[in-house]
Amino acid sequence: MPTITNSIKQTLSESLYLYYSSVKNGDLETLSTLMTQESYYITLESLGFKRAFKDAEFKKTLKNIDSSKEDLHKAEEAISQNLRTNSTEHDVNVTDFESNGNDRITLHYSEDENPKKMYFSDSSGKWKIDYKAGRKLN
């Protein structure tokens, strides 16, 4: 497995902490820069799920985020507002790094003492959160 340098570890750690602060503050503009587009949309869907369950109009908007920039913006505004008013602080600590093969790493960490992990992939020299990068490459 490829070596994970200290520089990469620092980059991934900073991304993780920024992920949590962005979610807490409803800063989706920053959040979107930390993730692959696909993972960002998955995150928006998770964060908007409860509202979509009760609000048919918002559900339609959320369904269109990857085909309509207008709907993406509407969804982001609503989700950001919700995050700002319902923010939760977590105690997050990086514990380990695990290579999943070339250009993909699992970052292990604790969230309020519960074991968690975040997958990252390297695309064009930039490491991003990538939910699809959890599979180990042979």
Partner: protein, 199 residues
């Protein structure tokens, strides 16, 4: 498969929940298979790396639906629909796991234990948030819990209808079985909803 196609293949569970922008199998996953298209699979025994990633993600996401049903079943023990369906959901997970392992994917890092300490516990934050949202909605009332089940199954069916494109025949067959199961689950939840509303 292009990156755009990959995007449309995401989120089996979210899709399953009717939230995905694309009809895929992600959350309940039926990953839109990718590759060169075609309906109902192909005869090659190969998956692209992106198809493997999607399949593995779907496998992980299957646990969300199972654990939602387990938790809601405990919350509403007199409503047998959850208990009946969670057994089937466990079979879905195992089907997806077998499929992953057939394509030499290591599934050992995904904890599928039915122990209370692990049900509803997800290492990926997005899946934890989704599970939490489903359970919070289900806690509001039995009717809301049943409707969470309806949403999950409706989306799953929609996604699975598109999931097989470009996939090898063994994947197509597994997805067909999953869809049959979801149709049965949907009928059960709709029956339970109708029964509740008739009171």
């Amino acid at each position: 498969m292009s990156k755009n196609t990959s995007t449309t293949e995401r989120r089996k569970f979210m899709k399953m929940l009717g939230l995905g922008a694309v009809a895929t199998a992600s959350s309940a996953f039926a990953a839109r298979g990718g590759g060169n298209g075609g309906n109902g699979g192909n005869n090659s025994d190969e998956l692209t790396e992106e198809q493997k990633d999607t399949l593995f993600y779907i496998f992980q996401e299957e646990k969300v639906a199972r654990d939602v049903y387990i938790t809601l079943g405990k919350l509403y023990p007199d409503e047998s629909t959850f208990a009946n369906i969670q057994l089937s959901e466990q079979e879905h997970i195992l089907s997806a796991q077998v499929l992953c392992e057939r394509y030499l994917m290591d599934t050992s890092m995904v904890n599928l234990s039915l122990d209370d300490a692990y049900v509803g516990v997800f290492e990926l934050d997005s899946m934890q948030k989704l599970y939490n949202s489903c359970v919070e909605l289900g806690q509001e009332s039995l009717l809301s819990a049943i409707r969470v089940g309806v949403e999950i199954e409706v989306t799953d069916i929609e996604d699975l209808e598109h999931a097989s494109e470009g996939m090898p025949s063994d994947v197509v067959n597994v997805y067909a079985n999953l869809k049959d199961g979801s149709l049965s689950h949907l009928a059960a939840f709709e029956s339970a909803e109708k029964s509740l509303l008739s009171y």
